[in-house]
Symmetry: C2
Amino acid sequence: MRKHITGFSNPTVKYLRSLRDKKHRKRSGQFLVEGLRLLEDARASSRVPQTLVMAEGRAHPLLERLEADVMAAGGDVIETTADILSKITGKENAQAVAGVFDEWDTGLARLDRSAAPIWLVAQALRDPGNLGTMLRTCDAVGAGGLILIDDCADPFSAEAVRASMGALFTVGLAQARWDEFLPWLRGGEGQLVAASLRDAVPYRGAAYQAPCFILVGNESQGLPEGYEAACDLRVTMPMKGRADSLNAAVAGAVLAYEVLAAVAP
Amino acid sequence: MRKHITGFSNPTVKYLRSLRDKKHRKRSGQFLVEGLRLLEDARASSRVPQTLVMAEGRAHPLLERLEADVMAAGGDVIETTADILSKITGKENAQAVAGVFDEWDTGLARLDRSAAPIWLVAQALRDPGNLGTMLRTCDAVGAGGLILIDDCADPFSAEAVRASMGALFTVGLAQARWDEFLPWLRGGEGQLVAASLRDAVPYRGAAYQAPCFILVGNESQGLPEGYEAACDLRVTMPMKGRADSLNAAVAGAVLAYEVLAAVAP
């Protein structure tokens, strides 16, 4: 259905705005994707928004195609003012379009470990930018996806979606507690590898095996010792300076490219 | 000198708060560093703040040592309320301490290219988090430092300093226009390497030579064609997915670790 909204206090505006908040996203099971580029990425992965919100008077061939898709799927197309769009997204220079999507099932059971030689696993990853960057790295190395362990940032937050550059729509995503993940992993083939300083071998030339699950720890705490101990392989990267760790998304990517060269050259 | 400030409209509070803004940082030549951990990193690199601002009633052995250093160097120690600290830093849960430092000279002339086998060079890097992450990577791979080309994010912004995890204080930093950088580079030894899709060789096993300058382009535009053409070596990383690029800080790090293995194993 096509609607036109001009009032800030319209309930739809309030609802869309509430999706900036994780609590409301979890309650409604929906999230907001901002910008035509990301919406096109979603479309390329056959994901059509339930609702499309756009600034009045915008015309773009891609936008028209998107509108047609939304209408065909029985969704709503809402035209509104630039000010209201800014209010919804919380950004002064809001994108001219945003879409509301249903979140999808992120249970481990949906992953097919045989589908890819590499998987990224992040534990208690708190920064949504790092999370999105790791999704993007998954896409680049042909990883099956990202498995989020314990309390991580929300992969459906605007910042994570943006940092993923659309990879949220193309790579696998799962969320699990450690004590669900480990039995799942051990229920099939899979090598668990951690970047570690304890009892580790050099990351270059280590004996990686597909499917290889690369485990990266929390930004400030690193991995709990017990998690490291449960790994099949602990590898270390040169740290030539004063610090003893890399940014989490960087560590994951350096390892992922090394594993890629070993298992899928 | 030791001071106690309780008023929001105190000129010192206004000044400190103004340092959140790049324009004011450039005018005053000073920047703000938040948190005891970063201040300790600075101290380890013999950088003492001009002014230390701390929440009333905080006691910590490291903080006492820092206070003593600041007083010995003729600086100011300001005690204030948690609310005023929040106002200064713009964060609800402000760190209990912040320090004001003089920015330093970031001219190319200060760099000694023979000091390290690897350098990172970022062109038009807009995200301060990426910038700080690249400084952190410089520390990790033993790079001489980061050279910022054209209009980049401000390395002295709070977000860049925080993402650097203290590497701002330990690795080299320069800022230059491309037409200053290239003659400087060509005035001595140095191989310029770009991650590129055009006319590139695989990044693994490429003929890297120290000192190797790894050039990474803007987050959304990549490198201008002319900049790529000026490089001695163009390398490409596998991109197995839908996207054709990595996050800029990730690309720089994956390349830097590959170069490290080649030139300083």
